[in-house]
């Protein structure tokens, strides 16, 4: 088992701006860390640096107590599961799983027991004699997982391992991976696009954007206490509404709403207000002191028990998640209310969170 530490790690490909301009991140021993972020933000690059498949341009990368900047991949004692499985097409399932052990010249008998044990855990026992071409996608994925498992490495690395599977299999494999981690508690780094995967698997999640680390934390911290507009907009589905508001000194206002607030003195005149769709309620049922907002309905998405109501007024666009009780039609005007403590404030320029002492500061992390 080992912890992983990035210390001001820079990755730059020749003739292009730095892909990772300077990353500080530490993965604790035995932790399941998920890397998420938009496409092209450098998740794979970061992961491949841990594996040793990409060199580190500057900074230090530690695995356990070793500085591994110059250690070749085979000596880092990490195992990696690739998006396309990367199974050797000319070898049987057994040979695929045994390959790493054979390279390390382990005794035949030991290889056999290890592979068979892993195959049993993953339900591959009947398939050991087949070649990858004769397996389904899910089976291939399990072989790839098995190949990583038999080596019993210090670190597991996953690069979007489930993205080629259909939704149902994905849920199932997600369960498998979670179970395996609970069982063996090996330090793992898991790259994904999928928020749900990140939320369910990750003990902690690191959100990257353009190679920069936006925030690290447990799923709940990231959801309830985002540090910046990017994290706030990234977590949750549908994402948080971020609307531009004017600072009137004692209240915030725009075309659809007005929120009286204390402690706004000294803040810039233009701010961003964040409201989660699930925190908006029908005005009729809400406490009288909650601020109201009125806007025209642009579109309604019905999800059964709830519906997503898209609102628009001038430049302002919002989504509300409301119980599916009343039929609503596009073009109607609707009045909603929200708890001011559930609103988030961001600086319009730096996009950073502004934490007020009263009353937004005291807002409970939502949910």
């Amino acid at each position: 088992m080992a912890r992983i530490e990035f210390r001001r790690v820079v990755k730059q490909y020749p003739d292009s701006p730095p892909t990772v301009p300077g990353l500080d991140l530490s993965v604790r021993d035995g932790e399941f860390m998920v890397l998420v972020g938009p496409s092209g933000c450098g998740k794979s690059t970061t992961l491949r640096m841990i594996a040793g498949l990409e060199s580190v341009t500057a900074g230090e990368l530690w695995i356990g107590d070793r500085l591994v900047n110059r250690v070749p991949p085979g000596e880092r004692d990490v195992a990696m599961v690739f998006q396309n499985y990367a199974l050797y097409p000319h070898m049987t399932v057994f040979e695929n799983m045994a390959f790493g052990l054979r390279v390390r010249r382990e005794p035949q008998a030991q290889i056999r027991t290890k592979v068979e044990r892993a195959a049993e855990t993953l339900g591959l026992t009947g398939l050991l004699g087949r070649r990858p071409g004769q397996l389904s996608g899910g089976q291939c994925q399990r072989v790839a997982l098995g190949r990583a498992m038999v080596r019993d490495p210090q670190v597991f690395l996953f690069d979007e391992p489930l993205s080629n599977l259909d939704a149902e299999l994905r849920v199932q494999m997600r369960g498998n991976i979670g179970r395996l981690h609970r069982e063996f508690a090996t330090t793992s780094v898991y790259v994904t696009h999928d928020q749900v995967e990140a939320m369910t698997l990750g003990q902690r999640i690191a959100i990257l954007n353009g190679g920069e680390l936006m925030q690290v934390g447990t799923p709940m911290e990231l959801y309830g206490d985002p540090d910046n507009v990017f994290v706030a907009g990234f977590m949750g589905s549908p994402p948080m509404n971020i609307v531009a508001v004017q600072n009137l000194g004692r209240a915030l206002r725009n075309a659809v709403l007005e929120v009286p607030l204390a402690g706004l003195e000294g803040l810039p005149g233009e701010l961003l207000l964040g409201l989660r769709p699930e925190k908006l309620e029908y005005a009729a049922a809400a406490p009288a002191h909650w601020p109201r907002l009125r806007a025209a309905i642009e579109m309604v998405e019905t999800l059964g028990a709830e519906m997503l109501v898209h609102l628009g007024e001038g430049d302002t666009r919002m989504v509300a998640r409301l119980p599916g009780l009343r039929p609503l039609a596009a073009g109607e005007t609707i009045e909603l209310a929200f708890d001011p403590r559930a609103a988030y404030l961001f600086d319009a320029d730096s996009q950073r969170r502004i934490r007020l002492s009263q009353p937004v500061e005291s807002a409970e992390p939502a949910l």
């Binding site: 594996a51 040793g52 498949l53 070749p72 991949p73 085979g74 000596e75 990490v78 195992a79 990696m80 690739f82 396309n84 990367a86 050797y88 097409p89 000319h90 390959f99 790493g100 390279v103 390390r104 070649r131 190949r147 080596r151």
Partner: protein
């Protein structure tokens, strides 16, 4: 709609073809005389001018000339004439007269048709060259012999004797600087004629019997060997290009060559021609072979009188003068040389004087069989790997046997044979066997025809082409292999040549692995099994080396190294050059004296290698050339294969701790197999039959030891003229390749199944 129009179109094309064929077969009686010749350039222009002039004055006997490419001229003649086709008259060398006369129906005797007045135009030796077994077969038109051509900056007066020539040549030779006193293609029998004939004997005795090992012939070889090996006045591995280059660079003081060289001499070289000197060792002049071009009459010509009129005109004085002055020829009509304009040209007159001592090439049919074996023998002798007497005795025995074979076949040709009953029976059975599946499935065939008629109509032209160009020749070769067809009996009825499995028996049952006895024993390089062994070594060596090297290069170029695109381009470039040119370049590079390979060896301080003298070294030359030629293809194929291997397999293996070698063995090689296996199969088949490289680079040297099956078959067919034997040889090659293909298919199928 489409179907009917396609069918109609095809029908029209078919009719057109029929009409064409009919026209070819039932050619209408020609009004014009047809003359075939092999001239190009100024000779052709001069001849055509003469014919124009003739046509103007003789409107009722118009002549049409056809210039036939020289390389195929002889074959065209011997294919067309015996079947009553071809020209009314033709111009050709006199050395084939014997063969034509023996074969019959090829050339008409003219002794009764030509008045003595006409014959008086030519020197007796040239008229004699046109005679065979007492009959005159044509009129001499012009002659070509070699003479001494010398650089006047290096040689003041032409030597009078060979002793003088030797002394002069020694003084002008500086081997280190690549300068030679004398240069000529001395290993070609045509050029060696000068020495050979100066001892008076020649290849045949007075009765026309083969006498290669006569003391005079042996002495001529001894003299040549001394010139080459002891005096060192001659360059090694000579050929006409080398001789021309040496002379043009002023590095050869004297050369022995013919009038054809004069046109190629550089501006700056001041040269002169002289008759060859007296041979001090025999007391007689060096007497070069002279090749006489004659005008011959087809026995089928319907207009003999008109043809004779043309022959008379072309050998007349006016025509002779024109051919000399405009065509650069040496006319056989000697009156031309008294004309002041011709007489003023010292070079022409020197060749004319050379005619006094020159000897016409014997026109006996056996002569054709002599050239190549004699060249091989000359090569061996000048390289010291055989003694003149011993080699000529061996050659005498070999050629006697070949001649006896040909003669026996020719003699039998007279006796007509009836077709044996079993042959008919066999044919009938075969036909039945071929037809029975078709009959059994006639319904399905008819249905398939109805359903896919358009498709069948579309492939019909290609099928016809295949039938005509592939299957028919194959079948013909197959049938030919059961006969004893040779140059001498190819025009006799097919069945009279039938001899069953004789050729196969003598190829496969050839257990003569050795020549001679005891210490003088040497491998018989003409043995089929030796050639097979060489072919297998050749194929295996080439495939292993070219695939191995191509793999290394492809692996190197698969990495993103600097300048990769340029390297790839460079390595693929040899592919863009026709392979025979590459082969010739390599042959030049392996030249023992002037080749860059030996020069490089010497720069490094190593001894030069006589590349074509030993079996191993000579094998290497072919191997290197062919590997060089095969690498680009192999490399492209392997690069393609490498690029189809997913990168992440290597990454997975690296993470699992596999080193480079382990990655190569566990991933690259197995995943490359699908492209490697077909590439190797192709390469085996190509190399097995790689005629060009062997023929052009080592030419089987030494003494045919490095011939592979296909070049051996060529030699048997076109140097020994044993056509049927060559056909049987080719069938054996085909069978070997077929067996290999079957085996290969089995192997790859089991490989496939194992996946």
């Amino acid at each position: 709609m489409i179907e009917t129009s396609a069918t109609r179109l095809l029908g029209q094309v078919f009719l057109l073809l029929l009409a064409l064929v009919a026209q070819l077969v039932y050619a209408q009686p020609r009004e014009e005389l047809l003359l075939w010749h092999g001239y190009r350039g100024e000779e052709r222009r001069a001849l055509e001018q003469l014919l124009e002039d003739y046509n103007r004055n003789q409107p009722d006997a118009r002549v049409k000339a056809l210039a036939v490419p020289f390389g195929s001229f002889a074959d065209k003649l011997s294919a067309a004439l015996p079947r009553g086709q071809g020209p009314d008259l033709f111009i050709f060398g006199h050395d084939r007269i014997g063969g034509w006369a023996r074969a019959g129906n090829t050339v008409a005797p003219v002794d009764d048709l030509v008045p003595a007045r006409v014959l008086a135009r030519f020197p007796p030796s040239l008229v004699e060259a046109m005679r065979f077994e007492g009959r005159l077969y044509g009129l001499p038109f012009n002659f070509k012999s070699t003479a001494l051509i010398y650089n006047r900056a290096l040689v003041r007066h032409a030597p009078e004797t060979t002793d003088e020539l030797l002394a002069l040549a020694r003084a002008r030779t500086d081997r280190r600087r690549g300068r030679f006193g004398l240069a000529y293609s001395y290993t070609e029998p045509f050029f060696h004629g000068a020495l050979l004939n100066s001892f008076g004997s020649g290849p045949f005795d007075a009765d026309g019997r083969l006498a290669l090992d006569s003391p005079g012939n042996v002495r001529s070889l001894e003299q040549l060997a001394r010139w080459v090996r002891e005096e060192g006045i001659l360059p090694e591995e000579p050929n006409s290009t080398l001789v021309t280059n040496l002379f043009n660079q002023g590095r050869a003081a004297m050369v022995i060559s013919g009038p054809w060289l004069l046109g190629e001499i550089s501006e700056g070289i001041d040269y002169a021609v002289a008759p060859l000197p007296q041979n001090s060792e025999s007391g007689r002049p060096l007497a070069p072979w002279v090749a006489v071009e004659g005008l011959f009459l087809s026995p089928w010509s319907g207009r003999q009188q008109a043809a004779l009129g043309l022959m008379n005109y072309l050998t007349g004085e006016r025509a002779a003068l024109h051919m000399a002055m405009a065509g650069g020829q040496l006319p056989a009509n000697l009156n031309a040389y008294t004309h002041p304009e011709v007489a003023r040209d010292a070079n022409t007159m020197a060749f004319r004087r050379q005619l006094e001592t020159a000897v016409p090439i014997p026109n006996l049919p056996q002569m054709t069989l002599l050239w190549k074996p004699l060249e091989k023998a000359l090569n061996k002798v000048v390289k010291g790997s055989a003694s003149p007497a011993g080699e000529l005795q061996r050659l005498q025995r070999e050629i006697r046997r070949d001649v006896a074979n040909l003669q026996a076949a020719g003699d039998r040709a007279g006796r007509p044979r009836s077709i044996p009953a079993w042959a008919w029976l066999g044919l009938a059975l075969l036909a039945l066997a071929a037809l029975s599946p078709a009959l059994r499935r006639r319904r399905r065939i008819a249905a398939a025809w109805r359903e896919h008629r358009t498709a069948y109509v579309y492939i019909l032209p290609a099928m016809l082409g295949m039938l005509l160009l592939v299957f028919f020749p194959l079948l013909y070769g197959f049938l030919l292999s059961f006969t004893d067809t040779t140059l001498l009996n190819e025009n006799t009825p097919f069945l009279s040549r039938w001899q069953g499995l004789g050729n196969y028996a003598s190829i496969l049952g050839d257990w003569n692995f050795w020549y001679g006895e005891g210490a003088g024993r040497s491998i018989n390089y003409d043995n089929f099994y030796w050639t097979l062994l060489v072919t297998i070594c050749w194929t295996a060596g080439n495939v292993v080396l070219s695939v191995g090297l191509a793999l290394v290069l492809a692996l190197a170029l698969d990495k993103p190294i600097l300048g990769r695109t340029w390297f790839r381009l460079l390595l693929i470039l040899p592919w863009a050059i026709p392979n025979y040119i590459t082969a010739l370049v390599w042959k030049g590079m392996f030249h023992p004296q002037f080749g860059v390979v030996n020069q490089a060896l010497q720069v490094v301080g190593l001894a030069p290698v006589a590349w074509f003298d030993s079996v191993g070294a000579s094998f290497m030359t072919g191997l290197v050339t062919n590997v060089w030629l095969s690498i680009p293809f192999m490399m492209v194929v392997i690069l393609g294969g490498l690029q189809s291997i997913p990168r992440d397999l290597y990454e997975a293996a690296r993470v699992e701790g596999a080193g480079r070698w382990c990655q190569f063995r566990a991933i690259t090689l197995p995943l490359l197999k699908p492209v490697l296996v077909p590439a190797i199969i192709l390469s085996v088949v190509w190399t097995f039959n790689m005629f060009n490289v062997i023929y052009l680079v080592s030419d089987g040297a030494p003494a045919g030891a490095n011939d592979i099956l296909i070049t051996k078959a060529f030699r048997i067919g076109f140097e020994k003229y044993q056509y049927a034997y060559a056909a049987a040889y080719s069938m054996v090659i085909l069978a070997l390749l077929f067996a290999y293909a079957m085996w290969q298919m089995r192997v790859s199928r089991t490989l496939e199944a194992a996946r």
